[in-house]
Symmetry: C2
Subunit: 401 residues, 2 copies
């Protein structure tokens, strides 16, 4: 027991160090090819534009850009986000429906605190985004999983579950869902399924927390409108992020939701950090207003499609055919299923000794199933690293068959 | 009841809209002289230096400054904060004792979540910083108050309380204290009292959360080292902020603490927002390294001393003599005591109609006492506004005597 451990709150005693994070720390300073992160390729950052914008902001608006601002966000950015949301088909909203957060992570943190009590019934995809799961876990809900197929979550299975839960007198509070370029599965739901999900949400009266982190990064196939665009009742809480389309280091995300929900989020954020950095918000507002983000997207999408293709080719070349994998239509990750006997958490230590890191897939399952899966990032590593890393990983898997 | 109210968590149902914030919203867009905020004078922002620094960072380090970074903070900033802490007499620490947060507000939020369980005994000054109190309240502790005299908290009274609590078998978890240029009282504890407080913390085995928001902004009299500089056991958790010495809009604060505590804070922050914005941290690191902050301080202190003197003179001229007030040795606020019959929350509505806003002092008392007090900011308003606003306020008070 540490010297100060007796002073820590009961609530945080559950915050154990992530096994993976500890493992990944072992790679620091070593020459390990990392497929583990979710980092954008830095060549996609519009550095020159950001520099020009920042200069002009500091020249003309430093008194506000360096000063405290409103908890809900800088007025100009909220205004720009109203029109920017239109690019995703979200209309009929005003600045009062928009809230700016420190990355979409903070939006997840605040929303799950504001909405979920211990024991509440929540639905998540299997698999789903691990850091959303981590926050949800701290709220101690009753989890219900819906399996992600290559067309998105299995809504027929979901409907059966909802019926069953209702018959047991259980009320569903919310569903957390990533309909577009799902992380980690890389799939996108069809429009019809989106409508179907909205009908389920309405019939069974639950909120939908829609994570659209990769909505602007679909490089193949259809990109139907987000659930929020189909939402007639205000039950969808939409999350966007600048991390994948401008710069993650600026830590900017946003929420589009009913004003009543925005108000509650605002009250909570007041305690968390008063407000999101002003300068960063001024930069993002200008990046939208000048079309910097919009005109940067095709380049980013082309690059990520290329890298995905490269990763897929490498997998087809080096992975044994018993390994199943997704072919993502957007985002930054390929998800793979190894034969059942594999435990990818155990395998990770060996992989790292051989010079490759990935994220074991069980982190993406609320029930820690998926022990034979792994998430592999293709946006950050170079083509050479992709080729070499996948070869090492493939050989390692083959050696264990 | 709102449409979505039934979906909000029990924990957040206590998050009521601040009466004052609602009142202050009434001033928006109106010509009201605001003594209510805690905004720095924007003329103190070293805009040209920030511009130059940002340009150079984007030129040479954009791949890291715009990318994700470590949860504990950018390595270079943590390194600079080790030496910067030396200016406040804090020595013998390494980067591992330093943690960067989204303003010191986030540090307060995380620390109180990590350290305080419902029912825990915590000590706060009467009065103390209202937003720290607001976060603490969400943790539902048992509050114990120690009155702030013109020499800081009354430590003899504290010792008696500690003895009593101990005899009742109650364990004290922590004390939240602002030893230097106290907000809102403006007082600074003598060195001997600081040593005395550290002895009490050691004997009664509680942690000390030391808020040093104004440590670099003492413009008069002694400025003894913070408690952290006297801490031999690692029981002081020190909070610093760039908001008052560089720019609040960058939202940067930091913690200096025992590694074991830093580790727990890191785990918690991982869920809150992954990390503090990278670009902002690079800017602050350079602002320290180049001495921008250090060489900007004398100007800021001179300006605030001048504004304080102006405020004090105006008060002496326009306030009736029954109103008692502090003469702050640093920071941004004068605290005043009106005759007992006054209720400054009620008075605020009238004051705003006449064109002046302030913060009613009861917000700074954990037990909402101090109904006859007010906090008045002098850093943001102009000299003309100070003169005019204090005249209006003085006349209003006189008319009620």
């Amino acid at each position: 027991m540490g010297k100060w451990e007796g002073f820590f709150s009961n609530e945080t005693k559950g915050l154990k160090s992530s096994e993976i994070r500890d493992l990944l720390k072992l790679t620091e300073g070593k020459n390990v090819i990392s497929f583990a992160g979710g980092l954008p390729d830095p060549s996609t950052f519009p550095v020159e534009d950001i520099k020009k914008i920042t200069d002009e902001i500091l020249e003309t608006k430093s008194s506000s850009a360096l000063q405290y601002t409103a908890t809900a966000g800088v007025a100009e950015l909220r205004k720009q986000l109203v029109s920017f949301s239109g690019l995703r088909g979200i209309t009929g909203i005003s600045e009062n429906n928009v809230f700016v957060s420190v990355g979409s992570q903070e939006a997840l943190f605040i929303l799950f605190n504001v909405l979920v009590d211990p024991g509440d019934n929540v639905i998540v995809e299997k698999p789903t985004y691990l850091t959303a799961l981590n926050v949800l876990r701290t709220r101690k809900p009753q989890f219900h999983g819906v399996t992600v197929t290559d067309k998105g979550p299995d809504l027929h299975a979901l409907e059966s579950q909802l019926k069953k839960l209702k018959s047991e007198g259980k009320r569903i509070k919310l569903m957390y869902v990533i309909p577009t370029a799902q992380n980690p599965a890389g799939t996108t739901m069809y429009l019809d399924d989106r409508k179907y999900l909205m009908e389920l949400a309405s019939s069974y009266d639950f909120l939908v927390v829609e994570d659209d982190a990769y909505g602007f990064l679909v490089f193949e196939g259809d990109n139907p409108p987000p659930l929020k665009a189909l939402d007639k009742e205000g039950r969808v809480i939409y999350l966007g992020t600048f991390s994948k389309i401008l710069s993650p280091g600026l830590r900017l995300g946003w929420i589009v939701a009913d004003e009543e929900i925005i108000r509650e989020v605002e009250l909570f954020k007041q305690n968390v950090d008063l407000h999101t950095p002003s300068l960063n918000q001024f930069i993002a507002a200008e990046a939208i207003r000048r079309g910097v983000i919009q005109s940067n997207l095709p380049k980013t999408k082309a690059l990520y499609k290329q890298k995905r293709d490269y990763m897929i080719q490498a997998m087809d070349k080096y992975f044994p055919s018993v390994v199943k994998r997704t072919k993502p239509v957007g985002g930054m990750f390929v998800f793979t299923w190894l034969p059942e006997k594999f435990n990818t958490t155990q395998l990770l230590q060996e992989a790292m000794l051989k010079g490759v890191a990935y994220v074991p897939g069980n982190s993406f399952y609320y029930d820690y199933s998926g022990a034979n899966t792994m998430r592999i990032n293709f946006s950050f590593p170079s083509k050479e690293e992709i080729e070499k890393g996948i070869e090492i990983l493939g050989n390692l898997i083959k050696s264990k068959l």
